[in-house]
Symmetry: C2
């Protein structure tokens, strides 16, 4: 490990890639891949430089590899999981209409990635009584009362844009500490002590337009 970085926060870029390696290793385990793997194999699968991979792995608490050999798939996956503070099934709350959440869960296979869809809250009054994965969808205002006791720390927001800020505020006051906002919304107010990650579909698309129109390959 980098002795000097012991007390420094993990750089965002490294953190994101560690999560990516965790996904890849989970994939390989599910596919029955066995034995040792090398930083080169990981790098090739993901289109990265192998030095980047090794450097990233040096942020882990223990030394993960064996020189001349490589890394054990299962052991490395577990180490990254611990470093990321991931429980074996990481519980997530979802905020959005039942239809939208169902759609999201149809292309984002949460269990395969090690998550558990643990609670659902909808802004749509018509969703009263609707059940997803055996769990009843709660009205959005129930976030305060329901969520506090459940020990869930991370939530996904996919409401209509008009409900995004309110959802974030409710989640924050219910003790949620990390929020991933999928709904494109330009300006949001981030409550104190909460990490908010915004996915920006429109920005990603607009960037693509620039590249697509001959503005240099990169």
């Amino acid at each position: 490990m980098h002795k000097l970085q012991e007390l420094r926060p993990t750089p965002p870029a490294v953190l994101h890639r560690l999560a990516l390696y965790h996904c890849l290793l989970t994939d390989w385990l599910l596919a029955g891949k066995k034995g040792a793997i090398t930083s080169k194999e990981i790098a090739n699968a993901l289109g990265l430089n192998e030095v980047t991979v090794r450097n990233d792995l040096s942020f882990l608490n223990e030394t993960p590899g064996k020189r001349g050999v490589g890394y054990g798939i299962d052991g490395l996956r577990q180490m990254i999981g611990e470093f990321l503070s991931l429980p074996s099934l990481a519980p997530i709350a979802f905020v959005g209409s039942a239809t939208v959440i169902n759609s999201l869960l149809s292309f984002f296979l949460v269990e395969k990635f090690g998550f558990l869809s643990a609670a659902f809250f909808s802004e749509d009054p018509n969703d009263r009584g609707v059940v997803i994965n055996g769990r009843e969808v709660q009205p959005i205002e129930a976030i305060s009362s329901e969520l506090g006791s459940m020990g869930i720390k991370v939530a996904v927001v996919v409401t209509h844009p008009s409900w995004v800020q309110h959802s974030i505020n409710l989640l924050a006051s219910a003790g949620i500490k990390g929020i991933l906002v999928l709904t494109p919304s330009v300006v949001i107010d981030i409550p104190e002590g909460v990490y908010v990650t915004q996915i920006r579909i429109p920005c990603d698309l607009k960037s693509l337009f620039h590249r697509v129109n001959g503005n240099v390959f990169n």
Copy 2:
């Protein structure tokens, strides 16, 4: 403009923020905001440093501001739009089941962000004959025959994971040059000459778990 950067590709970070400013300015225009705005106002709204904003804007082809005054909302928006090669309504193709696409369009208000949902292709045989926004959903295999003539260059893929690679391949051979993949999929093969941006919901979530569990505020 930075004279030395005239032939260099725009750095990804700058490109993404320029797209973000474009979204913000569109928002402000729709809200009826008038007159001049400063780099400080833009920075404050987005939680950025004002120098970053000015530096980013210096990548534009013409000089966008007036010293001592600021920037014209409409003029700046137009300049960024031109720099990004954005038509006034940028056409996008969507690949995914009709239900999922409808859900996506319910929280991502494409027109408000300056896009046009121009074509729909579904992997689900049950979607034959379904219409979205007055446009018939085509089977996924029709991508090759239909898309070529439409002049669409950018597509969004939100299929079930098992259809992602096939969709990308079809889109690429139909002449699509930029693809945004929303479906979480760890390893994908990127065809020659196509820009593929992957949104990685699982990685964003796993990163949040790390931060949420006391691993330093950043």
